[in-house]
């Protein structure tokens, strides 16, 4: 059985990991390196720095934005208990996938039978063959840490796809190393490529299932065009508002919130509840007006439909108003 402990012959740069003390054998172009034993990443002094990633806005600026965001959304009496800039590794894999699919979609159609007074509507089912090919390039973003998750990770993976990573200049990398927690990648190129292929196959399958009532065949052939390990800046904070704790993840490249948990203020709760009552009242007035004006054929059914809508809206706003916290996505 293979294990990562089996040491490779020394052929690159031998470094001792300052975190766990393991002897590492790094390739010469490694800068912010990845200790494959403990996951620690760091600088190799006096080496050409060649890490690719997206640089964050200045930490002071982000800190300021986070502070403003929290005091605006959660109230001035909030205080941050933990905050850090994380340089998180993602594999950006450009794949080309070819999917051949075959299935059918069942639909219900209606027709009128009979004439005059005997006319009635009848429904029947039809089948549409759904066959074809999906052929496209797809950019897949994968968090490069084995079996690990973190807050707002899905949003972060999405954010990484929309940027153009660039090589980090050495000076920036050096200063970043002091300000940020560099997470190393624990997934290598080959593994990332395979994961991306699996991801694309599953994604295409889901899309085909969405098009069909029944899928007979769905085969995907995915190849990798290019892959790039990219470090992306994320700013994580935990804060307290009136004795309650919330989490927040900022995109440190754009300075915008990715996802945040926020307290519900009394004003927001009241607004939500009022919206519920008001929409019920408005729908009631609409129903009444429609009947008065005899604008619809069956006012009774219309009133019932509007009533169900009113109940759904009121239930939804009430659920939102009585939640423990709210969630914002950027």
């Amino acid at each position: 059985m293979s294990s990562s402990a089996s040491s490779a012959p020394i052929s690159g740069l031998a470094v001792k990991c300052p975190n766990c003390g393991a002897a590492l054998n790094l390739s010469p172009d490694t800068i912010v390196y990845v200790c494959r034993y403990c996951g620690w990443s760091g600088f190799v002094d006096n080496q050409q720095l060649n890490v690719v990633g997206v640089s964050p806005q200045s930490v002071e600026l982000i800190k300021d934005k986070v502070g403003k965001f929290i005091s605006k959304q959660a109230g001035r009496d909030s205080n941050i208990t933990e905050q850090k800039l994380i340089m998180a590794p993602f594999w950006l894999v450009l794949t080309h996938a070819h999917t051949r699919y075959n299935g059918y979609k069942r639909e219900t159609r209606s027709r009128t039978v009979g004439t005059g007074k005997n006319a009635r509507t009848e429904t029947y089912e039809v089948y549409k063959p759904v066959r074809g090919v999906i052929e496209e390039d797809q950019l897949v973003s994968l968090f490069a840490r084995r079996h690990e998750r973190m807050f707002a990770l899905d949003r972060a993976e999405w954010a990484v796809k929309n940027v153009k990573p660039e090589p980090f200049p050495p000076d920036l990398l050096k200063s970043l190393g002091k300000q940020a927690e560099f997470l190393s990648s624990s997934i290598d190129l080959d593994e990332a490529n395979h994961w991306a292929q699996t991801y694309v196959s599953d994604d295409h399958r889901r899309r085909v299932e969405g098009m069909c009532t029944k899928v007979f065949d769905c085969y995907t052939d995915a190849t990798v065009k290019s892959s790039q390990l990219t470090f992306y800046p994320l700013y994580y904070a935990r804060f307290q508002t009136r004795g309650r704790t919330f989490r927040l993840m900022f995109d440190a490249a754009t300075g915008k919130v990715l996802e945040a948990e926020l307290p519900l203020t009394a004003a927001r709760r009241a607004t939500l509840l009022l919206t519920g009552y008001a929409s019920s009242a408005i729908l009631a007035l609409v129903s009444f007006a429609l009947q008065r004006a005899q604008a619809v054929e069956d006012s009774g059914t219309t009133a019932l439909i509007l009533g169900v809508a009113a109940a759904a809206i009121a239930a939804y706003t009430t659920v939102l108003a009585t939640r423990a916290q709210r969630r914002v996505e950027g």
């Binding site: 089948y127 690990e148 997470l183 085969y219 004795g243 109940a311």
Partner: protein, 318 residues
Amino acid sequence: MTTVYACPVCGKEAEVNEGEKVVHCRYCNSDFLTMEGEERYVMPAYYNSSSCFETFMLWAKKQGGYEESMPLELHMDSATLHFYPFWVISLEGTTIFSGLGEDAEYLWPDSGAYRQIKVFLRPEQGTFERRFEFMLPATKDLPQELKGYQIPGRARKYYSLSLVAEAGGKLHGAVIDRQRAEQWAQETAKAEFSHLISREVDRLDTRKDELKPIQSYYIYVPIWNYEYSFKGKSYKAFVDASTGRVIFATYPPDLREKASYFGVAVAHIVAGAALTAGLAGAGPLLYFLPFPLGLIGAGLAYAYRSLQPTRGGENLEE
């Protein structure tokens, strides 16, 4: 030098000499493994008992139905740090299969579709390539609530006893060795392949699986287990000592708050029903029906709120 392990079967402690790989528990007569000599990792316990419990309290306070007097009347029954072992296993594999798969013939055209479908079987073959990653508890005494545990994105370290001892943690022995863990992973991967194949063919004739392990490692994860009581009832909380995340917890319900939500719910529903009945007898006013139905909708939402259980945890992914 000796290390104290908790027996994964009975939970009693056993002193183990360095280099001992199989330990016989003298309390329950079972054998367990230390995995010494394996490549072992540990997530350091960055958070101590009081800071983890504080995190839990702050989290509980945020939840619906939290009892405000909890911090004052709470009694801590036990707070223990457990280092539970897990296997993390990645595999890659291919399956090649052939059999009979479904296809269809369509009859009786009806503007772009068909009224009739005849499904038949035809020979079909295919290949699937997949990567798998599994996490398997290596111990049997992992609390049920921790079954879905995921490793947070944080640097792990090489195992050293001092990382466990300094945090005051209890190291758990294992009952599943590498071979069994990898075998389990292979079987699970094969089952996953079976699922993929079953979507394509109805009758399987031949199948060839090839599975290759990529990496497997053994890791101890530190978790604070709290048992506390409040007004005579006991509750529990599990907090990740490496991140301070509340994995799972139960907490006392605020009965007054629950009762008031329930009261509001009943009031809305009764008012809505009464108003509906009143409108029914009031001729054209009946068409104001959406308003009382809206009240009933809001009432149901309040009822849902009042019946919410006081248990849960912080989701890592959300």
